[in-house]
């Protein structure tokens, strides 16, 4: 009997990957990493990892002369074990193990104002593109993301899960009517992206309307002391594609609030120009500091296929 050391390492790593995915799904932390619509495909990945792990276990105890191992092409994988564990291989395995180490060690963090600043909410708009269609401003971006998400390939095959942002066409229509008709525009999580897009598209139409929203504070260089941005991150797929949906907000006490403070705010919409660009602004009337919500991100609306 011959035990291949590399097969043991591979078995351990596959086992860790499998348990990481099991942990993500059982704790619900998966929603802190990716858009909930990836839950299903990620569960498939979990099952594949478990299968591969089980198969790999049996590979540890193989006879040295690998009967029946076929290499149909000059495959350069490391699977001709040979038991020699070179420095290069150790380096390779540690790269693969690295995300699992950090994944188990650290709690998932919520994206903060620093990241929002890097994304450059207003920098992008004020950059002065000669061709706006080439580089969409954030507002257009948000709108188009929401629109594009309207059809989802999973919606036919699977039932919506509670946290998933599925809506029927009627529901979405109702919500959109509510945006026009309601006394106060309530920026709820499920419709945030859609409302945000509409308001930014035609800020003039909403002047004088009451608005209620919650979000985190972030500030950019060049803001006056009574200005801050109250924003949410919208996650289309994973955190890497997070876009900042934020309203410029104005009230005297704005300077008290540090970045990353969560506020619930009511105010009146108005229009302002920032670096020559017209954008909505909230004149805050009341606000209170709140805890970071359990679901800090908003997701684009997905309507069910009829």
């Amino acid at each position: 009997m011959y035990v291949d050391f590399q097969h043991i390492i591979k078995t351990i790593i596959l086992g860790i990957f499998a348990s990481f995915f099991i942990m993500l799904h059982s704790s619900g932390d998966i929603l802190k990493y990716v858009n909930p619509k990836y839950e299903y495909i990620s569960k498939i990945a979990m099952v594949i990892f478990i299968c591969l792990f089980l198969i790999q276990i049996f590979r540890i105890l193989q006879k040295k002369k690998r009967a029946g191992h076929v290499c149909t092409s000059g495959c350069d994988h490391d699977h001709h074990g040979n038991g020699v564990l070179s420095l290069r291989k150790v380096f390779g395995y540690s790269i693969i193990a690295f995300p699992m180490v950090t994944g188990f060690t650290f709690e998932p963090a919520t994206l903060n104002a620093k990241i929002a600043g890097n994304k450059g909410l207003f920098a992008q708009i004020s950059k002065g593109n000669e061709d706006p269609s080439e580089k969409p401003s954030l507002t257009e971006n948000a709108e188009s993301l929401t629109e594009k998400e309207n059809i989802d390939i999973y919606s036919e095959e699977y039932n919506p899960i509670p946290n998933n942002n599925y809506m029927s066409e009627e529901e979405l229509d109702d919500k959109k009517k509510l945006l026009q008709a309601s006394e106060t525009i309530e920026m709820r999580e499920d419709i945030f992206g859609s409302y945000y897009g509409s308001i930014n598209k035609a800020p003039q139409d909403y002047i004088g309307r009451k608005i209620k929203m919650s979000g985190f504070v972030f500030k950019e260089e060049g803001f006056t002391s009574d200005q801050l941005v109250l924003s949410r991150f919208m996650i289309t797929h994973c955190l890497a594609d997070a876009s900042v949906l934020g309203f410029l907000t104005q009230f005297e006490e704005a300077s008290i609030f540090e970045e990353d403070t969560w506020l619930e705010m009511e105010g009146v919409l108005d229009v302002t120009t920032y670096d020559g660009y017209e954008m909505p602004i909230i004149k805050a009337t009341s606000w209170k500091v709140i805890d970071e919500p359990a679901e800090p991100y908003v997701f684009p609306v997905i309507t069910l296929l009829q």
Partner: protein
């Protein structure tokens, strides 16, 4: 044993990548920007990319394993016709139907060319194999907000670029450009084995492929997450915000990140509020055709002069073709 000499370039590559990471990321970690909080942000984005991409990588390695065991190169070689033009077309189409990643395809192409498949057909196959296949298309479709436009452009423009490059190669090179005159002996015993043995072999291949591929994905995800955490959008635009500049930046990123084509769509998509779609298209087409790790593998198989000329051709052709899309 032909496998042993793969070790040297891989070592060189790892070393190169390590040095590049140190040069680019080192200062960021040492600067005052770095804090535990920043690292946790980075780590969360990093894991997020991996968690999202890994299901696609898994599906990719399962298919690759299947092809490896159940389809022989003989099948593909039989379809290559005698005429140059036809052969280029057929090889590009065969590559489009053949799901492989850019690291997996190099050894296959070496074997094909060694067995007598013309070099230009090998190149066509090499370029379209990783670029156009169902998984890449599906992941591109999903990464760009379930929008077919980017996936279609990636397929269409990529295919035309691959055709052009393969044709140019057919005019420029007459010999097979292989570094070593390798003697390929067939050991395709696969067909004679019982089904379950083959299924087992397929899964073993998939596991090894997973370990081979995920290294590059993880490194790429880490670099991408670090860029997002420490580098603001504005500073990237400092290089110049013209469309040419941003395309060059995206192509350089594609080359150095060396992402697997199954997952690069997600990383490409994460740049879409920074760069115009033309530049992102360049990223999506250029990356699967050639990148750092691929170059090193090719250098191991083909003569250096050929590899560098191929690298040059791919860069120029993709750059031109991508910018032609703005006129559509």
């Amino acid at each position: 044993m032909q496998y042993t000499h793969m070790a040297a370039p891989k070592k060189t590559f790892m070393l190169l990548l390590f040095i590049i990471c140190c040069i680019f990321l080192g200062p960021l970690f040492m600067s005052d920007q770095f804090s535990m909080e920043a690292f946790q942000q980075l780590n969360t984005i990093f894991l997020s990319i991996i968690i999202e991409a890994i299901p696609f990588v898994l599906i990719g390695v399962l298919i690759a394993g299947f092809i490896q065991i159940f389809v022989t190169e003989e099948h593909i070689r039989k379809w290559i016709p005698k005429s140059k033009m036809k052969a280029v077309w057929v090889s590009c189409i065969a590559g489009s139907l053949f799901p492989a990643c850019e690291c997996g395809i190099v050894p296959i192409v070496r074997r094909l060319v060694g067995k007598g498949v013309p070099l230009y057909a090998g190149v066509g196959f090499l370029l379209t194999g990783p670029l156009i296949n169902p998984i890449v298309i599906l992941s591109t479709y999903m990464a760009f907000g379930n929008d077919m436009k980017m996936a279609l452009l990636r397929m269409g423009v990529g295919f035309l670029a691959a055709l052009t490059i393969a044709l140019l190669v057919s005019w420029l090179f007459q010999t097979n450009q292989l570094k070593h005159k390798e003697h390929f002996h067939t050991h395709d015993t696969a067909a004679k084995q019982p089904f379950f043995q083959r299924l087992k072999n397929m899964l073993h291949h998939s596991i090894d492929e997973f370990f081979d591929m995920s290294k590059y994905l993880i490194l790429g995800a880490f670099v991408a997450a670090a860029l997002q955490t420490f580098v603001s959008a504005q500073s990237l635009l400092l290089f110049g915000d013209s469309i040419f500049h941003s395309t060059i930046i995206m192509m350089a990123l594609a080359y150095f990140l060396s992402l697997c084509s199954e997952a690069d769509a997600f990383i490409g998509a994460s740049f879409r509020n920074l760069f115009p779609s033309t530049s992102i298209l360049a990223f999506l087409i250029y990356g699967p055709m050639i990148d750092l790790k691929n170059t090193i593998m090719l250098l191991n198989v083909f003569k250096a002069k050929f590899v560098f000329l191929l690298l040059f051709l791919i860069t120029v052709i993709v750059f031109i073709f991508v910018h032609l899309t703005t006129f559509i």
